[in-house]
Symmetry: none
Subunit: 199 residues, 2 copies
DNA sequence: CGATATGTTCTCTTTTTGTTCTCGGCAGAA
DNA sequence: TTCTGCCGAGAACAAAAAGAGAACATATCG
């Protein structure tokens, strides 16, 4: 059995709403979206969707609609493929969805907003957000949040020198690496991700 | 079991308050925030939250509310502050959490993995992911996924010329803008975000 | 200690939300 | 044409939730 137009629209709206808000809408909200006044009519659509097995309804509960199994992972986006200059979009096999929470969300992580251009050659621009994992040590070459003399916090590449001192290397041709004794530099975290929103 | 709107609002306020002040608010403060007079009503919400396992309440204690471990939202990260070269980390007031789902997860969006260096001057590197919103038109200057002659897909800045033709502008000094008649260029989406994982 | 603030429990009323129903309009099929 | 299915409006009702506020218990602080 297939859905009518209105039932399909209701279902589409439901999925989008849940993706955006994490909870189901009220019947009134669905009615507003469909441009109708009657909650009763909406209820009939929901009954049809429940009948088709697409949703489950908890009786008498506000927002008591659940999407069944379906593709309702909240934090996933479809990963369509690879794009390159001069090539058509290439599909990526065996990976059709990317879970952003697995990408970024772990314990002991936090977000910093970046000001300044010291990492611009690594594609970390002024205004970008970086995801930082709390750590007091880091491997050579990693991007770290370092606190110098308990005063200045910076974002730099870490380089350990043979004599035990530490060099903090910016990713910006106009800036110079700075060398410090190990005691002056305290590592606060390691950059594990970066993101940016355009609008 | 899921939360009602008011319970959710109470919970959101709690999390923000704790992040800001380090301690839980009083019932009166919660009531003020919700715009109601009754502490009793607030208490009922707290009971529901405790029932859901999101908080623990120490009886009769002022500010005796604790957030449970499980109350860490899966898709939010604490936004600690701003980091700049040569400055300590600066706390950002009134914004304690960043919801990555609000940032990225919307209907009609998908992710592409970028190959190539054509947008490197905009901080979009080889291997980065871009979040694309499906669209057939775009405003001048926006980064778009464009299909040329139904064959080649590229990531470029859009520039509309006065004669109606379209110029696709790479963000790479070594590459040149390319001009096409409007009929040859089909816009498939607008880049609304970008992210990258380092390990 | 007393005074005040805060949390707890309770009842009552109002509002919101979901549920069920009837009615009529409309379009396409028989 | 009639019949049927889908749609929308809205009334009436039930359940849940919200809000107010009183009364009391406990904590906190001078």
């Amino acid at each position: 059995m297939s859905l009518t137009d209105r039932q399909q629209q209701t279902y589409d709206y439901l999925r989008g709403y849940v993706a955006r808000h994490g909870v189901a809408p009220k019947l009134r909200e669905i009615a507003d979206h469909l441009g109708i006044q009657s909650r009763g009519t909406v209820h009939r659509y929901l009954a049809a969707l429940a009948d088709a097995g697409l949703i489950e309804v908890e009786p008498d509960r506000a927002r008591g609609i659940r999407l069944t199994d379906s593709s309702v992972k909240r934090f996933t986006l479809p990963l369509v493929g690879r794009i390159a200059a001069g090539q058509p979009i290439e599909a990526i096999p065996d990976q059709d969805e990317i879970d952003l929470s697995e990408f970024f969300i772990r314990p002991n992580r936090f977000v910093l907003k970046v000001t300044g251009d010291s990492m611009i050659d690594d594609g970390i621009l002024d205004g970008d957000m970086v995801v930082v994992e709390q750590a007091s040590t880091a491997r050579d070459g990693e991007i770290v949040v370092a606190l110098i003399d308990n005063e200045e916090a910076t974002l730099k590449h870490l380089r350990r020198n043979v004599d035990g001192s530490i060099t903090l290397v910016p990713a910006n041709k106009n800036l110079s690496p700075m060398r410090y004794s190990a005691s002056r530099v305290q590592i606060q975290g390691i950059v594990v991700g970066q993101f940016r929103a355009y609008r």
